[in-house]
Amino acid sequence: MTFVLPIGPQHPALKEPEFFRFEVKGEEIVDVDIHLGYAHRGIEEALSRRNYKHNIYLSERICGICNVVHTTTYCQAVEQLAGVEPPERAKYIRAIIMELERIHSHLLWLGIAAFQIGFNTLFMLAWRDREYVMDLREMISGSRVHSATNTIGGVRRDVKTEHVPTILRGLEKLERSTKYYINLFGSDRTILARCTNLGVLSKKDAIKFCAVGPLARASDVKTDIRADDPYGAYDALSFNVVIEREGDVLAKGMVRLREILESIRIVRQALKEMPGGPIRTRVGLQMPPNETVERTEAPRGELLYYIRSNGTDTPERVRVRTPTYGNFASMKSMFVGGTVAEIPIVMWGIDPCFGCNDRVTLVDSRTGKTRIVSFDELRRRRK
């Protein structure tokens, strides 16, 4: 006898509203369904009603955590439509800010993962170090979160020479603490007890369900758009694609933590090799009719923008495919067979970002195989 355990739209394990329907048999999960759309804001429609310039700031607000990646992808797509190439220096600045963003996103992940398993000290320490990145970003771009640095044809703000030593010093601090966290995450007994062999995504399933980003890399799938399809300055920058084999929550965490080290390397290299010159080329806003697809590696995985222009200064259609959306398909294979107590940490292993994701609503088409237990009934059942 299975019954349905509703998780969400409001639930302490979720930081954003989303609804998950877990079918459980006792403590064991036998099936999971996702109902998307609780954070639907109509952004794609809104994107096709503003001009290309104004859209930058709208696409920045699709996701707060990975806003630079969103604007970079958007701007690269529009630059392709316009047929211009941003100056070299602009590409490097974009890479620097994007990597700082990846560092802060992964540290945020570490903090909340620690919170989900009740390790509040690690949570606080990870977020303390995240503050250093935020300060660097504030210094470079003028705001802790929304950098508003990208623009069509380049960047709006230069990385000043007097900032470089501060950035390097900040990176040093981050490198030290990241190494400490890697050591801690892989050796603390209680963390291992809560994270190993949980929510395992096998390599086969990761490929079958087209998992992206750290989730796929934790399952031994070597996929990283920065390396597979280099964009911007990534051609010239050298870095390793981090992979782990196990595919459990621990591996997912390890991939993210080791990626922080790679990001630190990238930022250092970019700061050193950054060419001089202009940071911006002026681009007219009238785009010839065309269409384009642009993809980048966001902290959570592959981010894809599709833009169709029609000769005016407004795009006809913008489609955004965020990494979390790409990862939902593999959820089932991670949850099924696990227990209810594992839901929060396994869920967080995906690093879901529902704000990013909810621009479409999927309608569940499966018909009554199981009975839905209403909330009242659940209450009477007392479990």
Binding site: N120, M124, R382, K383
Partner: protein, 317 residues
Amino acid sequence: MMEVVDFVINSLVFPGLLFVSLVGLLYVGIDRKVTGHMQHRIGPPIWQEYLDMGKLLSKEDITPSAAQSFVFNIVPLVSLGAIVAVMLFLPVTSAQPALISVADLIVIIYLLNIPAICVMLGGYSSGSPFGASGAGRYVVQLLSYEFVFILAIIAVVARVGSLSLGTVVVYQAQQGWLVLDWRLLPAAIAALIAAQGKLLRVPFDIPEAESEIVHGALTEYSGPKLAIWRLAYDIETIVVAGLLVALFFGGPTTYVIGGTQIPGVVDFLIKTLAIVLLTTTLRNIMARLRIDQALKFYWSFAALLAIISLVLVLAVP
């Protein structure tokens, strides 16, 4: 007549309700402050717990209609009463507790379980899935730590040869602290681990894991009732610490320093604070276990420690 007055003063003022509330709230405040510093932040001021208590007491009490029942309303008070009663059995100023009975250790073990049972009742009667699953987890947790706790106490009892806490303290005054006795060291560690579970501290805060089940059994409580729960919990902290002090750390001792006599209560306060700080450290260096892992840990590792101790006490004279 005098006895009645004595009893009332004992239970309401010292070492009863007033004294333990003030000390308990302060200790949890210190715990929170130290936690803050351990996590490299400032943390709340140490009197924060008093402010929180005042805030909760002045707030509106919202009880969901599904939870409106006699049990739901009465359990906070029962639990507070039980835990204050334990305080009367603890030696606070001298080896003699405020209330004397022949086998007070058994009474204490019983009374210490009442708050736990109250939490479960409150959770089950709250009509919320979080409350119910918190209570369910609490049952499992109780089954795990209680066995270890009782075994550790039995080891002490077997060594001292008396079921009275006063005698245990007197024994330690003559023979030295029991924790320094190599036969009882494993039992002391086991008792500390059990206390960590009793006080719902990481890694055993499973019944109220906020990232999984909100606030567990107490999810639906609010306002004054929640304040009473908090008070009971804070008092429980000092009571459990006090019990450990009496069992293993020599209990309250009076010293004479420079001609003035330091009353035993000072010693009691210092020792309990040390135990509270020890649990604070423990809770800040670990992640929460899953309930099945906690059960396994208690029944294998912690129980083994206690049993070793018991066997040693019985076998090695």
